[in-house]
């Protein structure tokens, strides 16, 4: 009754059957056939493990990208022509003229439309960057005046860099407690306070979306604020924490808006750049 013709027809449906992509009528047809055909049942089973593994690949996060928007932005807004960053030969020499025209256009646009540099006070609030925020991220104030705005003038970190790092973090998965960003000074953005695992190296501080908190007292925990974790005892370590942070250690701390910095992990050879 179930000839090779029916086996052939059902066989072509088996992959999508195991991937749950068939219509109800097709499912019925396949299951009716599988009830009587051991060979096709075995074939379906052999597909199932592969289909499930592909679904797992789809669900499993890949290693985080180390390069982000700020780097691309710098490259696209540079006055010289963007060149391929690949270790191999340049990839698109044919776009040399086009890229020259576009780069010139971008340069003119930037020159005539808005200041290229970021004001030293307040966090840069590009509407586009603000729109990058998704999920339950706290809204950043358009032009917060920071008592620590002189930090930007020190050349350590500009508000634009922080905004870019926060925007890069915003483009990640907002359900994750933290997001790595590719930045020479900002290591990771936290969306909520995270108690570091013991196995992790002590991290001195993080930049997060929200307000800056300046520690009013030291802590001996390998906590995210970084004071005491390295033993540096630097009174001027700052950390941004989410507005919604409610841990006991946050009680009594001052909250200010403005820029912040990061230092390196104590066990890394990464050069610290902070104050």
């Amino acid at each position: 009754m179930w000839g090779t013709t029916e086996c052939g027809a059902v066989s072509s449906l088996l992959w999508n059957y195991t991937a749950h992509r068939l219509s109800e009528g097709e499912i019925e047809r396949v299951e009716r056939h599988l009830a009587h055909c051991g060979a096709c049942r075995a074939e379906a089973d052999s597909y199932r493990a592969t289909v499930d593994a592909l679904a797992s690949i789809r669900r499993t996060p890949v290693p985080e990208s180390r390069r982000g928007w700020h780097e691309l932005y710098a490259r696209l807004s540079a006055p010289e022509q963007p060149r391929a960053a690949s270790r191999n030969r340049p990839i698109f020499p044919v776009f040399a003229w086009g890229s020259a025209v576009c780069a010139a256009g971008a340069l003119c646009f930037l020159f005539f439309s808005r200041p290229a540099t970021v004001p030293s006070s307040g966090v840069r609030n590009s509407p586009a960057l603000a729109e990058l925020g998704r999920g339950a991220m706290p809204e950043r104030t358009a032009s917060a005046v920071s008592p620590y705005s002189d930090v930007a003038s020190r050349g350590q970190l500009t508000n634009a860099e922080i905004a870019d790092a926060l925007a890069a973090a915003d483009s990640g998965d907002n359900s994750a407690p933290s997001q790595s960003v590719s930045h020479p000074h900002i290591r990771r953005v936290l969306r909520r306070p995270v108690q570091l695992a013991d196995a992790r190296p002590a991290v001195h501080s993080y930049a997060v979306a929200g307000k800056i908190k300046r520690r009013s007292r030291p802590t001996s925990d390998a906590h995210l604020d970084g004071r005491g974790a390295s033993g540096a005892g630097d009174q001027s370590d700052y950390v941004l924490t989410p507005v919604s942070a409610t841990s006991e250690s946050d009680a009594g701390a001052e909250y200010v808006m403005g820029s912040v910095m990061m230092t390196a992990r104590s066990s890394d050879t990464e050069v610290a750049s902070g104050w």
Binding site: S56, T60, P61, W69, L72, R75, P82, F109, S171
Partner: protein, 195 residues
């Protein structure tokens, strides 16, 4: 007010980097993931991701809205990945199975560790099988099975007909199934991935 894709493209054509930032934010993870699965290497995937968006920005004046931004970006990415693969002396098969702790899905912590191990072994087997396939077959499997694109969208990415996509997917699946079966046999696993 939500900005449409057409509005973003129009602004990008005028050189608006803020508009391009939105496009980047929306598609960079998918482009990176696609490159990573095609190449199997994080640094290469990073390079390709950035080059994809540079190329996209420069080519934006010529972008026609017949295709979506998603398929257009994946097409650029796929082309760059193919160039990269061709430039290799030998294929890299490198699967970084170590997931960062804070990037695991929330329910992973509640799962039986044995299930996680078995699933990750099967996943690794399929990943290795994928990277042993010809790049063109790997590409079409990734587009359909991992990136979940329809046949029509895949046809736009690959620049071929829908019928051609169906045929190529059929052949790629058969090839993948055979490679997985061969790898599982070598590892002493049965047809469903058990030892």
């Amino acid at each position: 007010m939500q900005v449409t894709e057409d509005q973003l493209v129009a602004r990008c054509r005028a050189g608006d980097l803020d508009a391009f930032a939105q496009i980047y934010a929306q598609y960079e993870r998918q482009v990176y993931r696609y490159a990573y699965h095609l190449l199997g290497h994080r640094d290469d995937a990073d390079d390709i991701k950035q080059e994809t968006f540079v190329k996209a920005f420069l080519a934006m004046p010529g972008f026609r809205s017949e295709a979506s931004l998603q398929t257009w970006l994946l097409k650029i990415c796929g082309n760059l990945c193919r160039d990269k693969i061709k430039s290799w002396d030998r294929r890299k098969v490198q699967y970084d199975a170590r997931l960062e702790q804070d990037s695991l899905p929330g329910d992973a912590y509640a799962e039986d560790p044995m299930h996680i191990v078995e699933r990750s072994q099967m996943t690794e087997t399929v990943f290795i099988a994928l990277h042993g396939m010809p790049a063109a077959q790997r590409e079409i499997i990734l587009l359909h099975e991992v990136e979940d694109l329809s046949y029509e969208e895949i046809a736009k990415v690959l620049g071929c007909s829908r019928t051609s996509v169906k045929l190529r997917i059929f052949r790629a699946r058969r090839c993948l199934k055979e490679r997985v079966a061969s790898l599982m046999k070598a590892k002493g696993m049965d047809d469903v991935g058990n030892y």
